[in-house]
Symmetry: C3
Subunit: 203 residues, 3 copies
């Protein structure tokens, strides 16, 4: 229940992010709707296809689809100067969606009793898939390939849940993990954290 | 039956389009065959994978595969000056395939009794998938991302069939829809129709 | 059994190739691990998804996953001047993996009693899929689109097995085919063989 609320907010955050990226790329209304819908749902669809689980299609998302479409409409008719801040917004919204979807992906795999590797895989692909789809459709370089640490935080969320470090039936602990992952992602962004420690081709 | 004939022509049109794009990109004979086969069949395969239906593989296409291969061979040994017109041809052939495959996709979903959203999805992905695959393999910007209205016409075809505006068991009405979608796509191209009506970032 | 050994070496070759490409693109340790794991396993996963067979997920690869991770670690801590030869290494390693995986793909389809077209398809996608995934993730132009003959050798391997030209239960004959395909690929590269024989747009 508590988690469902978070899911709403995550869908809204990714729909917002997808719509804003589409608008800043000067896509037409059709493109804005496609990106606004694809961003929140593509990660879960990719996960289910790879894990050969039943796909929850976009038209089966029920209330979540309305949340996404409503958000897109709000973005589309936003006052212009609000949207102009898209660039900073986008990293924040993206961090929000990354954290919520990574946790959701890990929970999905845990509830199916999938093995350890599958939980990690599911956390990464669910968390990262939406943002990658958005960036590919917008013909941008995917954020996950950027230099700040990104997908690792989805992996960390998956590992914490898979190892049972937190009790994932306890919403309080899930919320703490959720906030921690967002914080770590935003710290990586603002502090410019990098994983690279071996630079072979320095010239 | 009447529709089967249209399907032949659509496969030939997309095979023609794929082969000509491959040749104009100076791909070798292998690349021409791959693009000529992928363009007519990729949309249907993508649709079936996403909808988790049985995939009709390329080697199960029977007569359609022969149509595609025959078309590719004709293109490959065409007189040079015919093929030089590829650029204009390509938009026409593409409109033809878009219309036929969008309708076929919608019919596919209707015959499986899939819900409304699935009919729209199936019409779009079947109609657009082949052209996107062709353009990605040719490392071109997908036509669907161009500025003239494109995927919307596949959506319109799907909606007309899903809402029962035409009786899809009546081939005459299907043919009328088919010609209407081609006309709308070509009008969009020639009249330079756009969907964008909100330009946030005009400088 | 004999073939299993070849599979080990092929996984190691593709993991090596993926890790080296990631390092030469200056990816961080996370990217090196992702590319090193994706390159050997992506072809088989794509094949199983398309053929609608059960996917052998990365965490179900058992000993092969350890081989891949071990190889990645070796590459990562290799002396710098060894890795500097990556460019020439990469074509050799890639030829090795191409040959082994194309044969493995054809055997996979034969063992499932799939039809002729499926054996060819399986040989191509298994042989080529890993390299394409590596190059796409590294944002390089896929080697299969390069001008030297590449995917055709996977097709040839598939056709030789599908037509029963060699007895694929005989490891000696498989090894001969394996070496022949590597040789043909490297000859194509060094002799600069091309398939193109019709150049429409020479100006």
């Amino acid at each position: 229940m508590a988690w469902d609320f978070l899911n709403f907010v995550a869908v809204a955050a990714f729909a917002f992010s997808g719509a804003i990226v589409a608008m800043s790329e000067r896509y037409d209304i059709f493109g804005v709707i496609i990106l606004g819908i694809a961003t929140p749902f593509a990660g879960g669809i990719a996960r289910n296809l790879f894990l050969q689980q039943d796909v929850v299609h976009i038209w089966e998302q029920g209330i979540f689809l309305y949340v996404a479409v409503g958000t897109i409409m709000i973005v589309y008719f936003f006052p212009k100067r609000w949207v102009m801040f898209w660039n900073r917004w986008n990293v924040y919204l993206d961090a929000f969606g990354l954290s919520a979807f990574a946790i959701q992906g890990a929970l999905f795999a845990m509830n199916k009793d999938l093995p350890f590797g599958a939980v990690l895989f599911s956390a990464i692909i669910t968390g990262v898939g939406g943002g990658v789809t958005r960036d590919v459709l917008a013909q941008r370089r995917p954020m996950v390939l950027h230099t700040e640490i990104y997908a690792v935080w989805a992996l960390v969320a998956g590992a914490i849940i898979a190892y049972g470090i937190i009790d994932y039936s306890n919403p309080i602990q899930l919320y703490i993990l959720f906030v921690a992952i967002i914080t770590l992602r935003l710290l990586s962004f603002h502090m410019n954290w990098h994983l690279r420690f071996r630079d072979l081709y320095r010239i």
